[in-house]
Assembly symmetry: C2
Homo-oligomer: 410 residues x 2
């Protein structure tokens, strides 16, 4: 048993709640939540606003090595950036990937990320699962079926070969497995149906890159006569456990399809800006991802959803701060197959992150505006404590920086 | 005489230069710059990348009090946000404004801003100049002529009354004066011509809000038959010392007009996102401003110019990192009437800011990519030293936060 006392906490409503006492049991679950409580000598005090731990629902950890580096190119696009990413991927052996991913996951821990969804098309599940465990955060390993195009070295021989490999993975304690269809570029409809059926049988989350670029839509329409999402729906992939990653350029009917299925969208706005993808407009439950890891700051992702929507529409106040915090926490946990996480409630995983309100970026925040302050003005440098399964992580930015510096290929 | 030795410095080219020794004379100007130099015992070492001090070419300091607070509204627009801003302005007496502005300028100093352009339509030049001096940064006080609409309490009686007031201002040591036309909403063409002639006679910079919102264009076209910029050009305002602030929705012919005149544009991308203004596409020299101060981080402004252009066009690599650093430094100094600043060169003002490359956000940066790292991945928390006129400011984030907290009205 341990306990945390939060100056303010977000319990899912429109406003923060003062004086929240959170009890945690020995299995790392919340065993009690009391609001408007005085602090107690047994409780660890968390100043500022405490949130559920942040879920990064879409990551390719190895792409952290491209940060800054992939900005030096001349005029280009998603497609020229992809060539740089392929060249990097080809240089990473298992040990190099492990070290790079561990350092990147440690950077995520600094940023309050307690659960990462690693969309793995390099097929290096062992190195990635070990890296997350050693960095102290939870992971959903989304093993991506990848049959055609792109990175030939990482091709699966067939969807059945993919399924056999996934069945052979032994997840560790804080690991869950998910399935992924890389994209309709890389997986044909018959193979997509095999992956979807596999995920359905095992109750796994299923993710896919969907309509990140207009060219992907055009190619799919030409070859198959339907949108990428409609193709995936035809393969039985689009249901409640499905997450469409990006969904930037949905075609007619796609939004209804997602909504009717109860599927999620994972936006990755900092990457969608960086790769010149465009501004998406997701229907239904929204999760957030850092994707290329050119930036690792979930607050930046959350506010970008709203700010880019403002640019698109000329209207403010499309997504409330509480809704964006839901995207950054509970919706991400659910999308990644941990529906018992991402909330501060009895029986939930005791994953928490506290955000100080007294640094110069947030100083002057009225309590009533704490949610808006964190979403619209905080950076990860405002984070205080990060707690996974009831245990507070020891955060050491200098050590993480040294680890990153050693792990990133020159 | 003092000296700084920079591990890397940006001297205006496409790449950073290693081992730069900068000598500073007793008047606070750079007296020598030697590249590829070993460090010396007399020089203060600046690790990471050293830039010229950052220029914030467009600020309304008092709006810092709206940070977070103005996000809680329901659906709205620039126009509903403006009502909240007016209500705040009405509560601030001289002392309250001084304290709020001093704390905000201190926050700017933390962010590496060594020169601020304060666009003052509250007509409180004394409080604002004193606030900047006490925070240790330079200021160009842009006194804005404001005749019609909006904040009636702050109306000038006439353009001549405005001119008499500006002539009565006694600028302090690190202060220069500039003229401003609030906007074509607030200043009619005849009055704009008086302001423009006044600025021209005195060689002052002249700034105006231009085409921030489509409604401003429509109103100007309806009333005057020309675009806001063309109206200002007709009043003799648009020349080399002119800066069009925002210029988000330029009309046909406006871009050529700006280019032919050699005028600058000041984009304020974080505010233009926040206020749902839209994505501008500036011709000619670009400066950057934090405007509403909902965010104070010039690196965020700089990358937003490129990232939002990527969203608009689907193309990467529109603005090189060096060009964006020029916008954040030399172009801003020139726009604000300090053409001898914003560069690291003999004879320039010794205003410098160093950015550490060894924190977790920038760890792993290769020297060759240092400009891209700072523009695309740094935040103000990566800033090391801030130097104004050769003297290093004592930065104390906790003290600034306390000052902000005390100064922001509840």
């Amino acid at each position: 048993m341990s306990a945390y006392w939060c100056e303010l906490a977000w319990l899912g409503g429109e406003a923060p709640v003062p004086g929240v006492l959170i009890d945690v049991d020995e299995q790392g679950f919340v065993s009690g939540v009391v609001a408007h409580h005085a602090t107690t000598p047994e409780a660890t005090v968390l100043p500022g606003l405490t949130l559920p731990g942040l879920a990064n629902a879409h990551s390719h950890a190895f792409q952290r090595a491209l940060r800054s580096r992939a900005q030096a190119a001349d005029r280009g696009s998603f497609w020229t950036w992809r060539e740089q990413m392929y060249a990097l991927a080809d240089t990473l052996d298992d040990d190099a990937l492990y070290r790079l991913a561990r350092a990147t996951f440690a950077e995520m821990a600094l940023a309050g990320i307690t659960l990462v969804g690693e969309f793995d098309y390099l097929h290096r599940s062992e190195a990635l699962m070990r890296a997350a465990a050693d960095a102290g955060i939870r992971i959903t390993l989304l093993d991506a079926c990848y049959l055609h195009g792109g990175l030939e070295r990482f091709h699966d021989a067939s969807a059945h070969a993919w399924a056999a490999r996934v069945d052979s993975i032994e997840p560790g304690r804080e690991v869950r497995l998910g399935a992924a269809i890389h994209s309709v570029r890389a997986v044909d409809p018959a193979a997509a149906a095999i992956v979807a059926a596999f995920a359905a049988e095992r109750g796994m989350p299923l993710h896919a890159h969907v309509s990140e670029q207009p060219a992907e839509n055009e190619d799919c329409l030409r070859r198959h006569g339907v949108s990428p999402l409609a193709l995936l729906a035809g393969a039985g992939a689009v249901g409640e456990r499905f997450t469409a990653v990006h969904a930037t350029h949905l075609l007619e009917g796609d939004a209804e399809l997602l909504r009717d299925a109860g599927a999620s969208v994972c936006m990755c706005p900092s990457t969608e800006r960086d790769l010149a993808d465009g501004i998406g407009h997701p229907p239904g439950p929204l999760a957030l991802g850092t994707d290329s890891n050119a930036v690792i700051d979930v607050f930046e992702e959350a506010r970008a959803v709203e700010l880019d929507e403002r640019l698109r529409t000329g209207v403010r106040g499309n997504h409330a701060a509480a809704a964006l915090l839901g995207a950054a926490t509970g919706n991400g946990y659910t999308s990644l197959g941990w529906p018992e996480g991402g909330q501060i409630a009895t029986g939930a995983l005791a994953d928490l992150v506290s955000v100080r309100l007294d640094g110069p970026r947030l100083a002057g925040t009225r309590r009533a505006d704490a949610l808006e302050a964190v979403v619209f003005a905080a950076t990860r440098e405002d984070i205080g404590a990060v707690i996974v399964g009831g245990r507070q992580l020891a955060l050491d930015p200098a050590a993480v920086a040294a680890e990153l510096s050693a792990a990133i290929p020159r």
